[in-house]
């Protein structure tokens, strides 16, 4: 059961500067963390390989500092790590990112499952996983809260929907995106952290290593135009707690809402 996981380093803070000309976030120098949802993808991959055997490879696209996210993945138990970086890859939207990841997965070659977090904490598009599946031309099973291997070479997931769950099944290879509640990610032991930084390697691939069409990488290959990046300010109001008999409280609530033209 060989698994490729796509992970991302996201800014630790919500206050990230952006380039007004290119319409992209300036990530260099901003303290980053491993995207929380990707930790679930790593945990899911490790649980699968602990049960069925196989190799887990983590790939991530980003500036040089993304090395830390990959080292964290190695400390958690991932076998191999690949950093996709370089000026040609910078400024990518989800389409160019998916294209780059697709080339990297093809270069890795052997895989049964590609695992992604549902979405990143900064972009929150949930587009990269499904787009990558389309590039790879494999089934996509999204929003998984449970994964099991059935009938030898099929995968079955429990998919979270807005109003419930459903089970999906597909032959392998397949791409799966996971929800936060699928598992509780492990914490790396201190000795594994040391090994990740001292004994293990992160392979570095640039656009030249990946092949592909240069005009489809990075900003050039990104049709998305980002006009503005901002942090939404949430206005805090006064809280009012209504107490007493349920029907009376409901009446009082309706009156308050009407008074404020909220009905």
């Amino acid at each position: 059961m060989d698994i490729v996981i796509c992970i991302k380093e996201v800014p630790e803070t919500t206050e990230v500067p952006w380039d007004p000309e290119k319409g992209i976030l300036i990530r260099e120098g901003i303290p980053g963390i491993l995207n929380p949802n990707d930790k679930n993808a790593i945990e899911a991959a490790l649980q699968l390989t602990e049960k069925y055997g196989g190799v887990v490879t983590a790939i991530s696209m980003g500036p040089a500092q993304t090395d830390d996210a990959l080292r964290e993945a190695l400390s958690l138990g991932v076998d191999n790590a690949v950093l996709l970086t370089g000026r040609h890859l910078a400024g990518a939207d989800t389409l160019a990112t998916s294209y780059t990841l697709y080339l990297a997965v093809k270069k890795i070659g052997r895989f049964d499952i590609v695992l992604c977090g549902k979405e990143s904490a900064d972009g929150v598009t949930a587009q990269v996983g499904p787009q990558l599946a389309e590039f790879l031309d494999i089934p996509q099973l999204t929003y998984a809260t449970n994964i099991e291997i059935v009938k030898g070479n099929f995968v079955r997931i429990k998919q979270k929907l807005e109003d419930g769950f459903r089970e999906l099944e597909s032959p392998l290879p397949a791409l799966i995106t996971v929800e936060r509640e699928i598992n509780n990610p492990r914490i790396p032991p201190m000795d594994h952290i040391m090994e990740a930084y001292r004994d293990k390697q992160v392979m570095v691939w640039t656009a030249d290593d990946l092949g592909g069409q240069m005009e489809r990488f990075g900003l050039k290959g990104s049709p998305t135009q980002c006009l503005k990046v901002y942090t939404q300010r949430i206005k805090k109001g006064k809280m009012q707690i209504l107490e007493g008999d349920g029907s009376m409280v409901a009446k009082e609530l309706v009156q308050i809402l009407r008074k404020r033209n909220l009905t």
Partner: protein, 375 residues
């Protein structure tokens, strides 16, 4: 001069923070209230490879540094839980055995401390001996291949729990020797734990040694030079204890900020009021000073420098500084801070311990002063 932590250290901090928040914080108040640490907690530290941080891998340790030990202690300390002492003792006693012990002693005594199956203890203090080491009355009489130990040891953390402890006694030459004692030996008994102001669950007991037979092979370091073992251990332990204080000071600031941002006074959060801003800024400045000095002394320890005076001066500075941070945190919380429903109450009680345990603040003044006034 390098002030940046390595990426490796930063990930260790993050891992320790996650461990503290997921494993200790949810049960910290219960541990304190019940005065009991669950038996399965120390093995969890072992699984996270936080015991034996400075011990080579061949003995089951992590093979890391004093600085990384301090960094993870700072994170664990934010829970203000007595669990810290079990973790700290397994680390510092293992490191002491690793420094002074023979190969056989290292192979026998260190792995069980690193895998969390044994609880370490360090037993020097006696009812009439605290800061006056010469007044020690426990005795060790030679009998063939054994020493027979008699005496009473006071305030011994984990004295009643399974494992080995380092005990100090006067041998037939009236000099103090350090022995590694199996706590399940015949003639080894303990009192009930002392009821403490804070640090519930620490398990601080008196230990009674009545004709406890200890193999001569268990002498740690040179016979008659137990003080050397003790003083070196105390210096390292002081730095660890100050990292514990530092982490709790940071927790005081974080709890105060959380409270002050939510608490509305005259229509605005407390954080908008200059008086509280001043208190918060003073807390922050104090903690930063404590932080960098603690890191500096731990780095000196890693460089192999002597830290007896540094660690004493560190304690002399940090204890009153963090106690003042805790006082301000209590003031910011007002009456709520005096309630057990608020974490600041536990922090305040726990922070009080450091001025009187592991040698008092006043003793540090004597140590530093006598060094400065040396001929």
């Amino acid at each position: 001069m390098e002030f940046n932590l390595s990426a490796e250290s930063k990930l260790m901090i993050k891992a320790a923070r996650d461990f503290a928040e997921q494993t200790i914080e949810p049960i910290a108040a219960k541990i304190d209230g019940d005065d009991a640490i669950p038996d399965d907690l120390l093995p969890k530290f072992a699984k996270a490879k936080m015991l034996g941080m400075m011990i080579p891998k061949e003995y089951g340790g992590t093979g890391s540094t004093a600085l990384n030990m301090i960094l993870i202690t700072e994170e664990l300390a934010k829970t203000a839980s007595a669990v810290y002492w079990s973790m700290a003792l397994n680390n510092s006693v293992a490191e002491t055995i690793c420094h002074w012990g023979s190969d056989d002693q290292k192979e026998l005594f260190i792995p069980p401390l690193c895998d969390g199956s044994n609880y370490a203890a360090m037993a020097f203090t006696e009812p009439a001996t605290g800061s006056d080491p010469a007044a020690i009355t426990s005795t060790a009489h030679s009998d063939d291949d054994y020493y027979v130990l008699n005496g009473t040891k006071r305030f011994i953390t984990n004295g009643q729990r399974k494992g080995y402890g380092i005990f100090y006694a006067k041998d037939e030459t009236e000099k103090v020797t350090a022995f590694v004692v199996d706590k399940s030996s015949d003639g080894y008994t303990c009192s009930k734990p002392w009821a403490l102001m804070g640090l519930g669950g620490q398990g601080l007991v008196d230990v009674f040694l009545k004709n406890v037979r200890v193999p001569k092979a268990n002498i740690l370091g040179e016979k008659g030079k137990g003080f050397n073992v003790l003083l070196r251990w105390i210096a390292g332990e002081r730095v660890q204890q100050m990292a514990f204080m530092l982490g709790m000071g940071q927790a005081c600031l974080e709890e105060s900020l959380k409270y002050a941002k939510e608490r509305i006074v005259k229509g605005r959060p407390m954080t908008h009021m200059q008086g509280f801003q001043w208190m918060l800024s003073e807390m922050h400045a104090s903690i930063e000073a404590c932080r960098w000095w603690t890191y500096r002394v731990a780095s000196k320890q890693d460089e192999g420098d002597e830290i007896q005076v540094d660690s004493a001066a560190l304690k002399l500075f940090i204890v009153p500084t963090i106690q003042e941070v805790a006082r301000k945190a209590l003031q910011i919380h007002g009456s709520y801070g005096y309630c057990k429903n608020y974490k600041i109450e536990r922090l305040y009680r726990t922070i009080a311990h450091a001025g009187v345990t592991g040698s008092s603040t006043e003793i540090q003044k004597t140590l530093v002063g006598s060094y400065l006034a040396r001929p």
